[in-house]
């Protein structure tokens, strides 16, 4: 369980994530149900030595759809509302040994009474340079439940290894009217923006190893890879940078979702500079001004681009006066 604290040397991971062709800029979601000991930033599984039949992922996620050009993609993750049984999965599988059946997440009972969220992430490209993101969470359980939704943007760490790679930056951008903007400034890609619906708090930290937690050594900066985790889960206010600048940032959407209801938020994230236009998982970041970018975001949430599973009047999102995340009138089903 060191992944949340250690900056990766080679490749990044994340839930329903996308990145540019060279994985300089990454986007994925993080979640918290208010009970887990850590943010859900990556799907959990057992390593080769831990699993009774070798390595095995212990989560439920599904690649629902994608066009060949990636102009539209959607992904479903089923997130339990109870504390995720990390320790139990490890211990029980170890106990069973090779001859026994694998002990799966469903076997732990965390999905009983349907106490989980269906979290659907959709990407739709309005153009080569424009990616629109919609994240919706449906409470399948019998009671209202809390969910913290954290759309997260970060850079792969290319600067800490001793070569002369410059450190790129993320900072809070200016927005006219409602919404929040993150300004992306990368030597290879120039300046681009990620717009977030509503007025979420933006939590900035650095994609740097937390040496204090892992090795008891000093950190070069007070802000490290698991800073957002510590802020959300442990309420450590000083774990994120009040200057609103860093190499990793999340937009903070705390939600309370009634049973059977869906809430959603949207981001307009132009992510990648493609070597070849249109064909790669995404297009470059938008170079529009922040004002027009924000307009773009609103038109995205109003438009019915959810052609595959669309049941939800997406406009309900943009109409909310506070937070811009609101319940829609029906659940998403397929």
């Amino acid at each position: 369980m060191t992944m949340r604290s250690r900056a990766y040397r080679w490749n990044e991971d994340g839930i329903a994530g996308i990145c540019d062709r060279h994985q300089m800029i990454c986007f994925a979601i993080a979640l918290w149900n208010g009970r887990d000991p850590i943010l859900k930033e990556r799907v959990f599984g057992l390593t080769g030595n831990e699993g009774n039949h070798g390595e095995d992922v212990k989560e439920y996620y599904f690649y629902l759809d994608s066009t060949p050009t990636h102009s539209y993609m959607t992904y479903l993750y089923k997130y339990p509302q109870a504390a995720f049984p990390y320790g139990w999965l490890v211990e029980e599988n170890r106990r069973r040994g090779r001859g026994g059946a694998e002990f799966e997440l469903l076997d732990t009972g965390v999905f009983d009474e349907d106490r989980y969220f269906d979290v659907v992430v959709e990407y739709a490209k309005a153009g080569v340079e424009d990616i629109l993101i919609r994240i919706s969470a449906t409470n399948r359980g019998p009671e209202s439940a809390q969910l913290v939704l954290l759309p997260t943007l970060w850079y792969r760490n290319t600067w800490s290894w001793g070569s002369d790679e410059p450190r790129p930056s993320l900072r809070r951008g200016k927005v006219q009217g409602r919404g929040a903007a993150i300004e992306v400034d990368h030597p290879s890609y120039g300046r681009r923006w990620l717009y977030c619906e509503g007025s979420p708090e933006l939590l900035f930290t650095e994609n740097e190893t937390n040496y204090r937690r892992l090795y008891g050594a000093e950190n070069g900066s007070p802000y490290v890879k698991d800073g957002i985790n510590d802020y959300i889960v442990h309420g450590v206010k000083e774990a994120v940078n009040p200057e609103r600048v860093g190499t990793k940032v999340a937009a903070h959407y705390p939600l309370t979702i009634a049973p059977g209801k869906t809430m959603a938020c949207g981001c307009a994230s132009p992510i990648q500079k493609s070597q070849r236009p249109v064909r790669r998982p995404s297009g470059p970041l938008s170079t529009r001004s922040s004002a027009s970018g924000n307009a773009r975001l609103r038109s995205f949430t109003r438009r019915s681009f959810l052609w595959t599973f669309h049941r939800t009047p997406a406009a309900s999102c943009a109409r909310r006066s506070r937070g811009s995340c609101g319940p829609s009138s029906s659940t998403t089903t397929w």
């Binding site: 080679w10 599904f62 064909r279």
Partner: protein, 518 residues
């Protein structure tokens, strides 16, 4: 089908690994342990990977595996043939392929040897695109052909220990299928002549022959190299079926099946009579030659006729070179039609290979009759294990001792169709064995394809075999249509086993559905 493609497309991933930097370590950090420089991948310092690549499973196998990738490219070609072509070319570029011509297997041991299916995939992707676009990409085909020549030569020089056109190869992708760990030295000493190693090479030869002939249509410069692969194939097929005076034969006349042959250091040798996929792989080495094409390539045809006239001993056990079949096609195949009938008798027997959900990697007969071999007091055995492997032996949670694997099933279907192309509707076999129902090879291929797709489809009672015994997946409306594409499937029930998001080669089911109109 839509979810299969979604899985394939979502499984593209940025992959980054620079072996030289990894061996030497980073200047900002303490140097890695000295032994790293002599350990894993130290012979692959040319390797510099920083590309978007199709992964087998982004969680369990978040690195490329060259032979998996070749299979991914076939269904991918249906929706994005440009991407499929780029992926196949990429593996052969200078920053991937070893200077000696070997393809990188996967990051934990680039030097491992997996079945040579790259030429097959290149040829299939070319043909799929040609069919869809009405025009083949000859530049792609030429580019990949030249690089594959290097790889083929690496195989010939490295894996034919005695220079006899019989290949070892070791691991060859099928993890625990053998009695011994095929990646490690044998406890007995000596070596194993592998039925699959030699067959894969026969198939590789024929794939390159097919590509050379296609290129020769417009450029006579390729006729010579086509002759080369044709003859090389004849040598391999001959070696496979008879070793002349040495009396060593991978074909077992009594059982009507191909087995590996164990060679002991003292010169003794005997077959390892495990009834497994290894003995079905000879079916993959099959190709037909069209008379029209032959007539357009006079140089190639002349050489072919000369060879048939002057080397009859090489031809006799190989294929029906002289008996033109349907529409005067010629058949090139390791397995003759008579032997094919005998192999299929076992393959289509529901007590052996034929499961309700495809062809098992190991015959069910080993459930009651495990194969055992005692060497220096240690018993080695192979049991029928239709789900996970019961031992941690070579291969983690991959198990080839009974389950159903898509890549080899797909090749079985394709091979039967090719045989049918030559043998026509008059050649019928009983399917399933013992049922009294006779079927053409085309119909048999269709039957296997149907059984495979049945894994994912709802039965009359609303259940999907892939979900196995899981109640929620079978009945809950928010779960039951969420299909997972597992690494392999239970040999009796069709339930998914192993990595759960291996849309990669299990995504071949999309191609099966597409061709059957499902």
């Amino acid at each position: 089908m839509r979810q299969a493609f979604a899985g394939l497309l979502w499984s593209k991933q940025f992959y980054h690994y620079v072996v030289k930097d990894w061996l030497e370590g980073d200047s900002a950090f303490p140097a890695p342990p000295a032994e790293r420089k002599h350990g894993r991948n130290h012979e692959w310092t040319h390797l510099y990977n920083t590309d978007v690549i199709s992964m087998p499973d982004k969680w369990e196998y978040p690195w490329y595996a060259a032979w998996d990738l070749a299979f991914h490219c076939v269904p991918l070609a249906l929706v994005d043939s440009d991407f499929a072509k780029e992926q196949l070319i990429l593996m052969l570029r200078e920053w991937y392929m070893h200077p000696n011509g070997q393809l990188p297997a996967y990051e934990w041991a680039f030097g491992d040897v997996n079945p040579p299916v790259h030429a097959w995939a290149a040829w299939r992707v070319y043909k799929i695109e040609k069919k869809r676009r009405g025009k083949g990409d000859r530049d792609f085909l030429q580019k990949i052909f030249h690089k594959l020549l290097l790889n083929f030569t690496w195989w010939v020089n490295r894996k034919d220990a005695e220079g006899q056109n019989v290949f070892q190869g070791g691991f060859l992708g099928l993890d625990n299928i053998g009695v011994f760990d095929r990646s490690a030295p044998l406890p007995t000493g000596g070596h194993i002549e592998q039925s699959d190693g030699t067959s894969w090479m026969g198939m590789y030869c024929l794939n390159l022959l097919g590509i050379a002939l296609e290129l020769a249509r417009e450029d006579p410069a390729y006729e010579d190299v086509a002759s080369k692969f044709w003859e090389h194939f004849i040598y391999i097929a001959h070696a496979m079926n008879t070793r002349g005076g040495e009396d060593i034969d991978l074909w077992d006349e009594e059982h009507g099946f191909y087995y590996d042959v164990l060679h002991l250091p003292d010169g003794q040798h005997f077959p390892l009579k495990v009834r497994s996929m290894v003995g079905l792989i000879p079916l993959f080495a099959v190709q037909t030659l069209e008379p029209k094409l032959l007539n357009r390539l006079p140089g190639f045809k002349r050489r072919l006729e000369w060879f048939i006239d002057h080397r009859p001993e090489l031809i006799q056990n190989v294929a029906c070179m002289r008996t033109p079949g349907q529409e005067e096609r010629r058949l090139l195949s390791v397995v003759t039609p008579d032997r094919l009938r005998r192999v299929l008798k076992l393959m289509l027997d529901e007590r052996e290979f034929l499961s309700p959900y495809g062809i098992r990697a190991l015959s069910q007969s080993h459930r009651d009759h495990p194969y055992t071999l005692t060497v220096s007091g240690v018993q080695h055995r192979v049991d029928y294990e239709p789900a996970e492997s019961s031992t941690g032996l070579f291969g983690g949670n991959s198990n080839w001792r009974g389950p159903i694997w898509f890549p080899v099933n797909y090749l079985i279907i394709e091979s039967l169709q090719k045989f049918h192309f030559y043998l026509g509707d008059d050649y019928k076999v009983e399917c399933p064995t013992g049922s009294g129902r006779m079927a053409t090879l085309w119909e048999v291929a269709g039957e296997i394809s149907r059984r495979l797709t049945r894994i994912f489809l709802r039965t009359a009672d609303g259940r999907r075999p892939v979900h196995g015994g899981s109640g929620k997946f079978q009945t809950d409306p928010h779960w039951r249509d969420l299909v997972l594409f597992y690494e392999y499937f239970h040999g009796d029930t069709g339930a998914g086993v192993g990595a759960g998001h291996q849309t990669g080669w299990t995504g071949l089911v999309a191609k099966l559905l597409q061709q059957s109109g499902g």
